[in-house]
């Protein structure tokens, strides 16, 4: 089931930024990548260099209709997650994420319903954390019935890491030990991420030497490998 679910129990951690760059990485590696924005905020498109006023077409499971940006088919899925037939299909185990396309879903922190709906259909859940107490405290809220360190298909990304700050360094060390290889990578704090979005440019164009860009590229590569999609990319090429 080619779905990668990006959801963090705490908002504002950079979930959409990670989702956008995972989708762009997959597209660069020859996958048919679809990025689905399940959020009301509708901010995923900013990381593709689009304007807030640009409206995305609603996702159709048959494909098509999405806006092609950076090789990714970008669609809104906020209304879809509230569509009775779609919800019923997912609950019955029928997946609309069929075929060879890889779907990357950006789900808002507060929208646990959509997250729970999509999770059984996902290859992997990416949970983005910040080196901040409120974000760490949310580790207990990832899934009701399974401890965070035992979630089989969840990987963690520590975003906005700043080694000049003591708590940030200590959080990195602590999470590395607590989560082991589930901590799939870190992304350095980098103002270029904000500046690029403010300029309506992808960060790769606005600041190609950005530290965050190089880190998120590494993270995306490891996510592709962890989801078992590297072999698929080799086959396609």
């Amino acid at each position: 089931m080619p779905l990668i679910l990006c959801h963090s129990p705490k908002g504002g951690t950079g979930n959409s930024f990670v989702a956008a760059h995972v989708a762009m990485h997959l597209a660069r590696n020859g996958h048919d990548a679809v990025a689905l924005d399940f959020t009301y905020q509708d901010a995923l498109k900013l990381y593709f260099g689009l304007l807030p006023s640009q409206t995305l077409a609603e996702f159709r499971s048959g494909g098509g209709g999405g806006l092609a940006v950076a090789g990714v088919e970008l669609s809104s899925a906020y209304q879809l997650a509230r569509d009775r037939d779609f919800v019923a299909a997912l609950r019955e185990g029928r997946t609309p994420f069929s075929g060879r396309k890889i779907h990357v879903a950006d789900v808002a922190a507060g929208d646990r319903e959509t997250k729970d709906l999509l999770l059984p259909h996902a290859l992997l859940q990416i949970c983005t954390l910040l080196p901040q107490p409120a974000s760490l405290a949310s580790l207990g809220k990832i899934q009701a019935d399974t401890p965070a360190v035992e979630l089989p298909r969840t990987v963690f990304v520590l975003n906005q890491l700043d080694d000049t700050h003591r708590f940030s360094r200590h959080t990195h060390i602590f999470l590395r030990e607590l989560l082991g290889d589930r901590l799939i990578g870190t992304i350095r704090r980098d103002e270029a991420v904000n500046e690029a979005a403010a300029m309506f440019e992808p960060i790769g164009k606005y600041a190609p030497a950005s530290a965050a860009l190089s880190d998120v590229a590494q993270v995306a590569k490891r996510i592709e490998a962890r989801a078992g999609l590297e072999a698929e990319a080799d086959r396609i090429s």
Binding site: L136, G140, A148, V149, R169, H170, D181, G185, R222
Partner: protein
């Protein structure tokens, strides 16, 4: 100074930078109460350690014990998470899990 930083400064011909490395190992790491709270939360670690055990970071985190004993950590703060290091990560996760299981056994024996 790290050699890559020294090389970069040499290439740039700059001598007026102040150099500082922001590195910590476990021996330097403080056990912030939030870390202790996470280690004692069964929603996070499954079988949580006791509050007392959680305060002893060196017992819970084997790397901390090695660092405080003067053993060089196996990896640095700036390392990347390459696949070649995943085995090392799994080993460390195993150590933590083993410790938590040992604590659980000890607790069970004490209550018997």
């Amino acid at each position: 100074m790290r050699s890559d930083a020294a090389n970069l400064l040499a290439r740039l011909g700059r001598k007026d930078f102040r150099y500082r490395e922001f590195t910590d190992n476990f021996a330097d790491m403080e056990l912030w109460p939030i870390f202790e709270a996470l280690l004692t939360d069964d929603r996070i670690v499954g079988k949580p350690v006791s509050a007392l055990a959680a305060r002893n970071m060196e017992d819970i985190m084997p790397s901390a014990a090695r660092a405080s004993a003067g053993v060089t950590p196996e990896y640095g703060l700036f390392e990347q998470y390459g696949t070649d290091q995943l085995a090392s990560r799994r080993e460390k996760q195993g150590e933590l899990n083993a410790f938590l299981q040992r604590l659980s056994r000890d607790d069970a024996e004490e209550t018997d």
